[in-house]
């Protein structure tokens, strides 16, 4: 009952208005490549100091929700994930847009984001304290194995040659070692240059590797950016709802994966959306169409990454350990407002917490109308702007966006170099996703390994440390399965084919 009262508090006209503005602003910021959810939230923090804590939290939650969703626009329409958690959205979203189904992809992404967001918020509301314990049972060794598992997903994700996928990931792992090492403090592979000192920033690598090749191809080929259909089809909501209903299991599975993975601080949205994408593909009857514009691929990743919003708040609010970078900023804002995280947030300060959760719920619901509206406008402007204007506009945005990540001109240089390198590699069949995956997972694996090694040496048993816990063994088993899955599946298909062959033979003879 209490919760209902707080929910009604969130619905005051002022708060409703703030949520509306927050979601809309979040969508626009998230849609621009380089302007991330973290930045959207950080920019807003000082503005919220003048507000009541409830309104402040509602607005922060709204802009965060909007920004995570907005990242799908640039992923679908210009093949550039606005945030790392939208990487997998490019796999099917951009091919869909290319063949003229961009409007449908945006609608699907909206429906999936709303579903995923609601599942995440529901988990936050009901089972947060329980799930928070999961975050604590993941130590350095478990993170190491999780990163290894993430790398094995490449075999499932890479279209074409698996070998090239692994080579790309290796390249990404090497790139991740550049700069000052967190564990060990050594300066590595900077060749004495200041440019490389800060390492390669993941979002600038995303922009370089995904967006620059698209721009180069746009300039190099005479065709239009996206195929344009003559007839006006609106937002194709009915078609989208139909596809979403077909993929309801997929949506629920992806949203659950998103919630669970987001609970692990540091792993976050990128791993969540990749895992749910590969699971959707594995469960599908037509896995070959994934990566070529299968609507279920868009549904899976977008449901997962919006579920990370609610999921990530679970360790943030219960343990005071931020699940994702934007959570860290919101946690900071909470501290400045004078709130402590922990059990108090669910007892003495329950009103604040439940108002916040209700605000997230509200923001997620607002995504539906606002997303469909803004999404339609974004799609229309992308297809109607002449190429001569589109290319410089996007190019300008990539440079500004990259610079804005940490006010660094070095990042812009790195982004441009990676873009040209990525374009070249693409021509030889190396896709950007394995490279980025290596870049994201490299530090997690390295730190986990070194920390686990130190722990093992202190306890006197390295093998027990690395292979002792049930979680580690489970993740190792999953990794092995993931690597050999294509082989096993081929074997099955062969056998089934033979059995079917026998059947038809018998039928024929009888």
């Amino acid at each position: 009952m209490d919760i209902l009262t707080y929910a009604l508090g969130a619905l005051s006209p002022l708060n409703l208005g703030l949520a509306l503005v927050g979601v809309a602003a979040g969508i626009i910021i998230g849609a621009l490549p380089g302007l991330s959810a973290t930045m959207a939230v950080a920019v807003l923090v000082p503005v919220t100091f003048g507000m009541s804590p409830e309104s402040a939290l509602i607005m922060l939650g709204a802009i965060y929700t909007g920004a995570i969703y907005g990242g799908s626009y640039s992923a679908i329409l210009v093949n550039t994930p606005g945030t790392p958690s939208a990487i997998a959205t490019t796999f099917d979203g951009f091919p869909m847009a290319k063949r003229g189904d961009g409007d449908l992809a945006v609608t699907l992404s909206t429906l999936a984001s709303v579903t995923g967001g609601l599942v995440g918020v529901l988990a936050l509301l009901t089972v947060a304290p329980l799930l928070a314990q999961v975050a604590l049972s993941f130590g350095p060794v478990e993170y190491f194995w999780l990163a290894v598992f993430g790398l094995t997903l490449i075999s499932a994700l890479s279209e074409g040659s698996t070998l090239k996928g692994f080579m790309g990931a290796g390249f990404g792992l090497l790139l991740s070692t550049i700069g000052v090492a967190v564990v060990g403090g050594d300066t590595r592979y900077t060749f004495g240059s200041q440019v490389l000192l800060g390492g390669i920033e993941i979002v600038s690598a995303l922009i370089g590797l995904y967006c620059i090749p698209v721009l180069i191809d746009l300039v190099a080929t005479p065709e239009a950016h996206l195929k344009i259909e003559e007839e006006q089809r609106g937002i194709r909501l009915r078609e989208g709802l139909g596809l979403a209903w077909l993929g309801k299991l997929n949506l629920l599975r992806s949203a659950s994966i998103g919630t669970l993975v987001a609970i692990l601080p540091g792993a976050g949205g990128s791993i969540a959306s990749l895992v749910s994408y590969s699971e959707a593909r594995r469960a599908s009857h037509e896995p070959k169409t994934f990566g070529k514009g299968n609507p279920q691929g868009v549904l899976a990743t977008e449901a997962a990454n919006n579920a990370t919003v609610g999921g990530g708040f679970i360790p943030t609010l219960v343990l005071g350990i931020p699940g994702t970078p934007p959570d860290a900023v919101i946690l900071g804002a909470l501290l400045v407002q004078g709130f402590r995280t922990g059990p108090e947030l669910f007892t003495t300060n329950a009103s604040i917490t439940y108002t916040f959760v209700a605000g997230l719920f509200l923001a997620t619901c607002l995504l539906l109308p606002l997303g469909l509206l803004i999404g339609r406008y974004a799609f229309k402007s992308i297809i109607t702007i002449p190429k001569a204007l589109l290319v410089p506009t996007i190019a300008f945005m990539t440079v500004i966006g990259t610079y804005a990540i940490r006010n660094s001109a070095s990042d812009v240089v790195i982004m441009l170099v990676l873009g040209v390198v990525g374009w070249g590699l693409n021509r030889y069949g190396f896709r950007p996703s394995p490279i980025v995956l290596g870049l994201i997972l490299g530090p997690i694996a390295e730190q986990g390994f070194v920390q686990g090694f130190l722990m093992g040496r202190a306890s006197g048993s390295l093998s027990m440390t690395f292979f002792g816990s049930p979680i580690s063994i489970t993740i190792i088993a999953l990794s092995v399965l993931s690597v050999f899955y294509p082989v096993i599946k081929a074997r099955w298909a062969q056998r089934r084919g033979r059995v079917q062959g026998d059947d038809s033979h018998q039928e024929a003879s009888s």
């Binding site: 626009i28 604590l136 350095p140 564990v183 403090g185 900071g332 059990p343």
Partner: protein, 321 residues
């Protein structure tokens, strides 16, 4: 995409207009417009939180905004190596952190030297502390020391980063107590405390701020302050227990090279005034920070002293010969 671009343009133009107008309004008194406060770390950390607390009082005193920005990378090195390229008019200040600015440039080129930073005010520190879980068998610091004596290297302590405040504290502690522990570096204090809460390590090198944040789950064995922290009257200081350790992560502000002396003095005065505000003091104390005043004229002595202390530890760490 087009709508957002035009929005950005409109916003940009209006910001430019407003700032141009306010510059014209009064040019004699510093500050006459917004001051940019660059934090060389990402948002959400302690540098950010303490800067956010200063913001409000800065506006109260000067009537101008203190705009917090971030320039993370290389553990602060990316920001500090670019500080002197910024305009030296006092309208750009940057967060400055000890021991980072001393330890980072030691023995390697990270793009800046300790002397490159013109610190004008240091305002607080997060005191070092050893934290354990509530259910830990270590009841006192002596328990931990005894365990480390019985099996050298078997006691594991997590902490944030290598050659960092935590790493330095651990090295000094090992020296003073004559024991060997295993220090395990993590990326940031959040990850280090997660490892403690999850039971992957036996203790953590953290700060009073961490204990303030996780009061229900952890307790401190000792804190590196001169006197007991008002928030934790039951926790002894290292000094009381016979180990001469006072320190932690100190935070202040620096300006680009060539900023006029009077502007630096004015900035130093403003931030000293903020430190004297009882509301600010209370807010900082509740978060576990300890305030201190190192104004412009005391800065050279303070830095020289800190440098001596950290150089001794750096020798122990093998950072320099």
């Amino acid at each position: 995409m087009r709508v957002s671009l035009s929005h950005a343009l409109v916003t940009g133009i209006s910001i430019a207009l407003v700032s141009a107008l306010s510059t014209m309004a009064s040019a004699d008194e510093f500050p006459s417009h917004d001051v940019q406060y660059v934090i060389p770390f990402g948002p959400g950390g302690e540098s950010d939180i303490s800067a956010r607390l200063q913001q409000k009082y800065f506006e109260e005193i000067t009537g101008e905004q203190l705009v917090v920005q971030y320039m993370p990378g290389g553990g602060g090195a990316v920001g500090w190596s670019q500080l002197n390229d910024k305009s030296a008019d006092g309208y750009t200040i940057m967060g400055s952190n000890l021991p980072h600015i001393i330890l980072k440039p030691m023995g390697k080129d990270v793009g800046f030297q300790t002397d490159d930073l013109n610190n004008f005010f240091y305002f607080h520190y997060s005191p070092d502390a050893i934290l354990v879980r509530n259910d830990s068998p270590f009841e006192t610091l002596d328990d931990l020391i005894q365990a480390a004596e019985e099996a050298p290297g078997a006691v594991t302590l997590s902490g944030s980063g290598t050659y960092s405040a935590n790493d330095v504290a651990n090295t000094r502690f090992q020296q003073l107590a004559g024991v060997t522990t295993t220090y395990i570096p993590f990326k940031g204090t959040g990850a280090a405390v997660t490892a403690l809460l999850g039971g992957q390590v036996q203790a953590e090198w953290g700060y009073t701020t961490v204990a303030a944040n996780h009061q229900d789950k952890v307790r401190m064995l000792a804190v590196a302050t001169e006197e007991r922290h008002p928030l934790f009257p039951d926790v002894p200081t290292f000094k009381e227990l016979g180990y001469d350790m006072v320190g932690g992560a100190y935070r202040g502000m620096a300006v680009p090279e060539g900023t006029p002396e009077e502007t630096q003095q004015r900035l130093s005065d403003i931030f000293q005034q903020i430190n004297e505000n009882p509301d600010f003091q209370q807010e900082m104390q509740d978060l576990g920070f300890v305030l201190m005043d190192v104004p412009l004229d005391e800065m050279p002595d303070f830095m020289a002293e800190q440098r001596q202390t950290y150089e001794a530890t750096a020798r122990e760490l093998g950072l320099i010969d």
